[in-house]
């Protein structure tokens, strides 16, 4: 058959993970990401991999910890409340410098919330997500094709920096179906000399652990880890710019919000308003450079989000509060319409930058 496949975003993540050499999946079902687990349950036995539905999210993330310790590619996936349950494990993984991929197909919150799409776990994902000083690489796909590509990228970055990569998608991204091409290259994995694979009496034994009771030593580990984070910030920020060259107004949006925003921008351009889009693809590291640059010429920024306004704080930081940043949002599982975003653009144009 043809090379094109019609896939749900969730399925694209699962298939891309398998292509990236991930043979271990542990999870617990939750809408709207269950197709990832269902796909893995079908496929893993056929390729000699392991699919295991754990008794809880906490069990699943600890199984991920175990496999990651052996240096194998491993992943788990969940949706907002389930990611909160995995929080302890995420912190332990960071404390043990283990690479893994975690997928969050976000739904409306807080609490049990609903099952409709949301971006309200932005703070949780980009500002740590659990106790202790740590970071995760956070990738925000805006198409089914990117769900697949960023899954592979996520594994590669996790291995390169020995840390967790998180795919921060939302219910729409997980459920929507688009044609996908899955013929991308997967880079060779770096060596894992730290893995607990058995010494064969030929080397010192490796220890994977996040406990460190000597304060001086724990401090040293933290400083060393943040040197690595600094390298990630310097080298790995990704973003897309759309019609920004001459733009007076810059819309900042990621994931599904960026697709809605593009529609609104096209309409605004027809009306003669010079507006463009900066779409962060990595949410951490946040792509500061295009915002710093745009802040020199643009007169207003609009942050379009499916939350009560979370990324807007990073937009304000990146633009150094030189120009006003307004929020255009829906919450609780609702999605802004192109008309709403267009309204915010027209408003910003009228105010000429005055908040």
């Amino acid at each position: 058959m043809a090379d094109k496949v019609l896939m749900k975003g969730n399925e694209a993540i699962a298939e891309a993970a398998i292509l990236a050499g991930c043979k271990h999946y542990f999870g617990y079902p939750i809408t709207p990401q269950t197709e990832i687990a269902a796909y893995m349950a079908k496929k893993m036995p056929k390729i000699g991999g392991c699919f295991l539905q754990a008794e809880s999210e906490i069990a699943a993330i600890n199984m991920v910890y175990g496999v990651a310790s052996t240096g194998k590619r491993v992943m788990t996936s969940s949706s907002s409340p389930g990611i909160s349950l995995k929080g302890e494990g995420l912190s332990y993984m960071a404390g043990s410098d283990l690479p893994c991929l975690v997928v969050n197909v976000q739904r409306g919150g807080p609490g049990l919330g609903g099952i409709q799409p949301s971006q309200s776990d932005y703070f949780q994902a980009t500002k740590g997500g659990a106790h202790g000083d740590f970071r995760m690489i956070v990738l925000a796909p805006a198409s089914v094709q990117e769900m697949a590509q960023l899954t592979v990228k996520g594994f590669e970055l996790a291995d390169k920096y020995r840390m967790t990569s998180m795919i921060l998608a939302d219910g729409t991204m997980g459920q929507m179906m688009e044609p996908v091409e899955l013929d991308f290259e997967v880079k060779e994995r770096p060596e894992t000399p730290w893995a607990t694979t058995g010494t064969k009496m030929e080397r010192e034994h490796n220890i994977v652990n996040s406990l460190s009771l000597v304060a001086e030593e724990l401090e040293k580990l933290n400083f060393e880890r943040f040197e690595r984070y600094k390298a990630v910030e310097e080298n790995e920020a990704m973003y897309e710019e759309y019609m920004t060259e001459d733009a007076d107004i810059i819309v900042a949006a990621f994931g599904i919000a960026s697709r809605v925003s593009k529609n609104a921008i096209n309409e605004a351009r027809k009306q003669g308003i010079k507006v463009g889009l900066i779409r962060p693809i990595t949410l951490w590291p946040f792509p500061k450079a295009p915002f710093e640059k745009a802040a020199l010429t643009a007169k207003a920024f609009i942050s379009v989000e499916l939350s009560m306004g979370q990324m807007i704080e990073d937009v304000k930081l990146a633009t150094g509060c030189k120009v006003p940043v307004t929020l255009c949002n829906r919450a609780g599982g609702m999605i802004p319409t192109p008309e709403q975003v267009l309204g915010a653009i027209i408003e910003a144009e009228k105010n000429g930058g005055a908040e």
Partner: protein, 221 residues
Amino acid sequence: MKNFKRITLLCGHYGSGKTNVVVNMALMLKKQRDRVAIADLDIVNPYFRTKDSSGEFEDNGIRLICSEFANSNVDIPALPQDMYAITDDRELSVIIDVGGDDRGALALGRLAPQIIDENDYEMLMVINCYRPLTRDAESTIEVMREIEYASRMKFTGIVNNSNLGDATTPDDVLSSVSYANEVSKLSDLPIVCTTVEEKLYNDLCDKIEDLLPLSLQARPV
């Protein structure tokens, strides 16, 4: 589509486009019969369901048999309370949306004895070669066998709904015909129709037998 049986069951892997075919067939059937119902036995997928189009059915005088709690806070996998109207009310013509793959088809098993006993039904498999788990005839047959096992019923025909969503070209549909023929040969079942989005119909109607135009249900962004 002519010669509808009293009950038409539509099954398929999730994402095959089954629910869209169900909605279109019900609208077609309503032009031929007085009392028509859609029964939603899809208790697996809470994201896309016939209930989303309930307004359209009401406007067309089509009865919707679906869980009263769909899209509400108690949206548990519950069957509709008036489910037995499907088998008890023999004046009613019904299109049944059976749940995706074998898990969804389990719910059908409850009605299977009565449907088989009355013997005025068609059970159709909706297939799409562009979906990852039904890319070739063999894997499609595998899914069909799983559904038959779970539902305790046998298929009587195939609906070729091969598509790539909005990006579907006439060539994509044309090149799916050999796949559908292969499924037909391996399963020994007829291809009842090949379905395409309305806008592609004119390009293809003289190239594919039993071609059926579909209007698309609204999609999210």
